[in-house]
């Protein structure tokens, strides 16, 4: 299988007396969609924020392409090619698609914004993701549907030659058709060679696009398995009780 793009080993993270992540191992491979599942409070968001450099870890190793790295800020993560697309989309309604995709990283010639080259690159990126749902890249984001907004947010993450894109519940607020569109886009990201982490509560979504499933249970990594090796029911069990048959957290099961 080769070296994973991102590998976390033995990550611990506490907020005061509360230990949110315990000895978490997590690996993500390029060209694959890894679904990160877990109940509310299992530590999904915390884990993602540690990867994104928003939180620093208490202990544990963070490896990119097999090399240990230190990530202390979102900027460090961005330099490593890690982009997070948040659930509450970080888009400005009053700006158009191009302006949003380049927000904070505008291209300039002299002091003047280089609009034509930004527009070209934005259109190219959307075309590269086979996005055909937006009519014009100069449309205001306020005029877009939920699925189109999610598409723009994802395309924005892709634009920066990122290697790892983390999507936090990208389909949570979408209808059936739009969900299908976004999932298709998620799949295409991985097929283009990116490593994708998909956080989702929806088992249908997870089984529809993911190659691997990582289940967190009370701050511990219960299991990281191939999607083809497990069933819906097993994953639900992993989420709710931390184990399922031979899978999952053994020692805690023994205590119980």
């Amino acid at each position: 299988m080769g070296t994973p793009l991102l590998e976390l080993r033995g990550i611990n993270k506490s907020f005061g007396p509360v230990q949110v992540l315990r000895n978490v191992d997590f690996s993500v491979h390029p060209g694959e969609v890894t679904a990160l599942v877990g109940d509310n409070g299992a530590g999904k968001s915390t884990l993602v924020k540690c990867i994104g450099g928003i939180y620093s870890t208490d202990s544990g190793e963070y490896l990119m392409d097999g090399k240990p790295v230190h990530v202390h800020s979102p900027r460090d993560a961005a330099h490593l090619g890690v982009e997070i697309v948040y659930q509450d989309l970080a888009l400005c309604d009053n700006l158009d698609i191009v302006q949003n995709m380049f927000l904070g990283r505008e291209r300039r010639s002299g002091i003047i914004l280089d609009e034509p080259s930004m527009e070209e690159l934005a259109a190219k990126t959307l075309a590269g993701l086979s996005v055909r749902t937006v009519k014009s890249v100069r449309q205001l984001v306020s005029s877009l549907s939920g699925g189109q907004r999610q598409t723009v947010a994802i395309a924005k993450a892709v634009l920066w030659n990122s290697k790892l894109v983390i999507l936090d519940e990208p389909t949570a607020a979408l209808g059936v058709a739009q969900t299908a569109q976004v999932l298709e886009l998620v799949r295409r990201l991985a097929d283009n060679g990116l490593a994708v982490v998909l956080i989702s509560h929806n088992m249908n979504d997870v089984f529809a696009v993911s190659d691997r499933i990582a289940a967190l249970y009370l701050g511990q990594m219960a299991a990281q398995v191939k999607t083809t090796d497990v069933t819906h029911a097993q994953v639900v069990e992993l989420i709710t009780s931390g184990r399922s048959g031979s899978l999952g957290l053994v020692e805690e099961g023994a205590v119980a």
Partner: protein
């Protein structure tokens, strides 16, 4: 050979945009769709301006005389300056209620520098603008770093600056301005030839910018505005400018003497308008102002220094208030405790909003302030000509402001609903 490949590749790469045709008809349809979606732009202000001018011209033919036209421009000038600065603050969804008296403070500094400290005019102007920058920096710091709502900070500023003006002017004396350069901003005019040169610069400059963008985008295979629309825009601006300069070049002296030419303040306003429009539309800083006004959290996540942007907007606003104060001092030929007081602030906010700048932030242009200030000046000037009492003037101006804010709120709701 390579040229052929390039052209055949272009449409494929531009998949999301290629379907839109660059025809006039589709442009018009698109414009109609934007209007219905609540993006009215400056349409209400321009429409209002035309209607008001017609009404007043019919009621009082005197309204359409060259002298009244020149008066209109100079009356609107201080308002335009303050309103242009307010656009920056309004774009962030903030408000500056102190801009009126801030302009008073800066005007008082100007008057003292000229009359009491014997400074040359350029030093006095720099001192006035520097005062504005300091005021803006203080307000911006209190809003962005301490976190006091701008409404409260600037309401306090409204009172404080009123007191500062009184103190500077020794409890109510007024200082006359005698410096010919300062007076000349509002009172003197350009020669006829200079007026035409100015018109040529405006028209050719605008045409050059529009053409450059058209050609540049065509070359890269991007969607462009149809050339007919560009021609219409340039032609419209040219017609307006030529008509205005021609009217202003007529002798408008009431009795003896010869008074003609474009008032000096007009090219000043035009330059400032161009500069701020450039800053807002074509620079990273301007883009970030819109971003912070649209979604502060998204801007922060994009790595924008939100506090710095907010402080700079207040600095620009107060600096422009200083410019407005200088123009007002030139207009009145003196500075008194009421400079920048009474209705100045409300008219300035009204000008920006009537022009189409949203009170909710994220939407607005500098030209809005100029158009809106013209609307307000026309109302005040026209009502003066039809001899309406001050009370009626206030009621009507207040009503127009309310109407503009209502249009703003409704189009915003409409935009949210049409999603």
């Amino acid at each position: 050979m390579s040229a052929v490949t390039a052209t055949s590749n272009a449409p494929a790469e531009q998949a999301p945009v290629a379907e839109e045709k660059a025809g006039v008809w589709s442009y018009a349809k698109d414009y109609g769709r934007r209007l219905r979606g609540g993006e009215l732009g400056s349409l209400p202000a321009v429409g209002g301006l035309v209607v008001l001018c017609l009404v007043f011209a019919i009621a009082r033919p005197r309204f359409f005389t060259p002298i009244n036209f020149a008066n209109l421009l100079t009356q609107a000038a201080p308002l335009m300056m303050i309103a242009m600065g307010l656009v920056f603050v309004l774009l962030l969804g903030e408000i500056d209620l102190s801009a009126g008296f801030a302009s008073g403070v800066c005007a008082a500094v100007l008057a003292k520098a000229l009359a009491e400290w014997g400074m040359p005019w350029y030093v006095a102007i720099l001192m006035a603008i520097a005062t504005g920058i300091v005021i803006g920096a203080i307000i911006g710091f209190l809003v962005a770093k301490i976190g006091i709502p701008s409404f409260v900070v600037t309401l306090a500023g409204f009172l404080v600056f009123q007191g500062v003006v009184l103190t500077l002017l020794k409890e109510g004396t007024n200082i006359s301005i005698r410096d010919t350069v300062i007076l000349g901003i509002q009172k003197s005019t350009m020669s006829e030839a200079m007026g035409w040169a100015f018109a040529a610069i405006v028209i050719l400059g605008y045409a050059a910018v529009q053409l450059y963008s058209l050609v540049n985008r065509r070359k890269r295979g991007l969607v462009t505005v149809p050339w007919q629309i560009v021609a219409l825009r340039v032609g419209g601006l040219a017609a307006l400018t030529i008509y205005a300069v021609d009217t202003l070049n007529v002798n408008r002296a009431v009795a003896l003497g010869d008074l003609r030419g474009v008032p000096n303040v007009v090219p000043v306003i035009a330059s400032i308008l161009v500069i701020w429009t450039f800053v807002l539309r074509r620079t990273k800083f301007g883009r970030h102002i819109y971003a912070v006004g649209g979604n502060r959290e998204a801007a922060r996540r994009a790595g924008i220094n939100v506090d710095l942007i907010r402080i700079s907007a207040f600095v620009i606003c107060s600096a422009m208030a200083a410019v407005g104060g200088i123009v007002a001092a030139s207009e009145a030929a003196s500075v008194d405790p009421n400079t920048g007081g009474s209705t100045v602030l409300l008219y300035a906010v009204g000008a920006a909003v009537i022009g189409g700048t949203s009170l909710f932030g994220g939407k607005g242009r500098v030209i809005d302030a100029v158009l809106g200030a013209l609307v307000i000046a026309v109302i005040i000037n026209g009502m003066g000509l039809v001899d309406w009492k001050a009370g009626v003037k206030f009621i009507i101006t207040g009503g127009v402001l309310l109407l503009a804010a209502g249009v703003d709120a409704l189009t915003r709701r409409r935009a949210a609903a049409s999603r």
